[in-house]
Amino acid sequence: MLTVHMSDPARQTTGNPGQEAAELQNRFIQEHMRRVFLIIYRIVGNVADAQDLTQEAFIKVLQRSEQLKDPEKAAHWLSRIASNTAIDFLRRHGRVNFTEIDSIVDPLIAEHEKNPEQTLLRRERNERLEDGLRHLTEKERTALILRDVEDVPAEEVARQMGCSMATVRSHIANARIKFRRYLERRKA
């Protein structure tokens, strides 16, 4: 089993290094899984690809676990790996296809949700967001997600996307303008 060397003051030692490492890995996965999945999902646009890429990102990070000295840096590094993995995927496949939630097959669909009203609201919000994101180009959407959702500095966004600062500024500005117009149209 691979070891994770993360300094976590809250952890309790069990006396078994292999078991401790496994527990640390599990905790790391549980803490960041949702966030990483959502970053990737918003960039690639469908659940099946996002699932594969999320797993790939975690495996990449945990395989080089010796670099994870503290949890904060580890989380930051994971975010970078996640967005890079999603960007690489888009480069390879050159497509984004937002899955209609209704078309997702079991077992990913919730069989029933506790609050139907809340579910409906969430579904509406999701549809609005995904419809809005569909109006953006792949690069505009990636730049918008990294900058406005993940709070990644613009310089870092440029580095991750492999383009200049001027280009990234242009992508961000276009994305915000398009998204704003989309929301205004919906309101109207």
Binding site: M1, N26, Q51, F58, N126, A173, R176
Partner: protein
């Protein structure tokens, strides 16, 4: 009043403008209600995007999906671990380490052999040259000429070509050769002698 472009306002709202552009922009926005409103709208867009992306896609059973992904990650790590454990002792680490050392050792050995051979060959060549010494001189006499040579160069004394009646050729062991030619018409005798010293 000239307003900034909408692109610049969008970037100003997110704080992406460089300092030298942001500063005059701030002055303008502070004094312009219309641009201030634009900036506020962009800030709202940012908030909306952030809030809406925080939701798990509707209809997705997150508990089940995350459990599946977690299990796959652990499986992937186990597989990677097993592959690296299989490769490391036999194929990868020692092979790479040994090949580096072997290359260095072999190169040093080949270099040593080459230098040794070269030095030995040069010495042998000098010794042979010393043993061989200068080429011996040879003195030869025939009915037509007397010749002296050292292997690479030769000096030839030709006898008379016409009316030659007879020739007496002598070669001595002390390093000389001689030829006597008698002219048929005049009876004149020509004697050629060469000596090796």
């Amino acid at each position: 009043m000239k307003h900034p472009s909408i692109d610049k306002l969008a970037l100003y709202a997110g704080g992406e403008l460089p300092f030298w552009t942001r500063w005059p922009m701030r002055r303008h926005v502070d004094g312009c209600a219309q641009c201030r409103e634009e900036v506020a709208l962009f800030a709202e867009v940012k908030t909306a995007v952030r809030e809406e992306t925080a939701d798990t896609p509707a209809g997705v059973n997150w508990e089940r999906l995350s459990a599946e992904m977690g299990a796959n990650v652990r499986l992937g790590l186990e597989a990677a671990d097993a592959i690296s454990a299989y490769r490391t002792p036999v194929d990868m680490a020692p092979a790479q380490g040994m090949s580096w050392r072997m290359v260095a050792l072999t190169s040093a050995f080949v270099l040593l052999l080459s230098v040794g051979y070269w030095l030995n060959a040069a010495k042998k060549s000098e010794q042979l040259a010393a043993m061989r010494g200068p080429e011996p001189f040879v003195a030869q006499a025939s009915e037509s000429a007397v010749e002296m040579s050292d292997g690479s160069k030769a000096m030839v004394l030709q006898g008379p070509k016409s009316h030659m009646r007879s020739a007496i050729v002598t070669v001595s062991t002390t390093g000389s050769a001689a030829a006597q030619y008698v002219d048929e018409e005049t009876g004149q005798v020509t004697v050629n002698n060469v000596y090796v010293e």
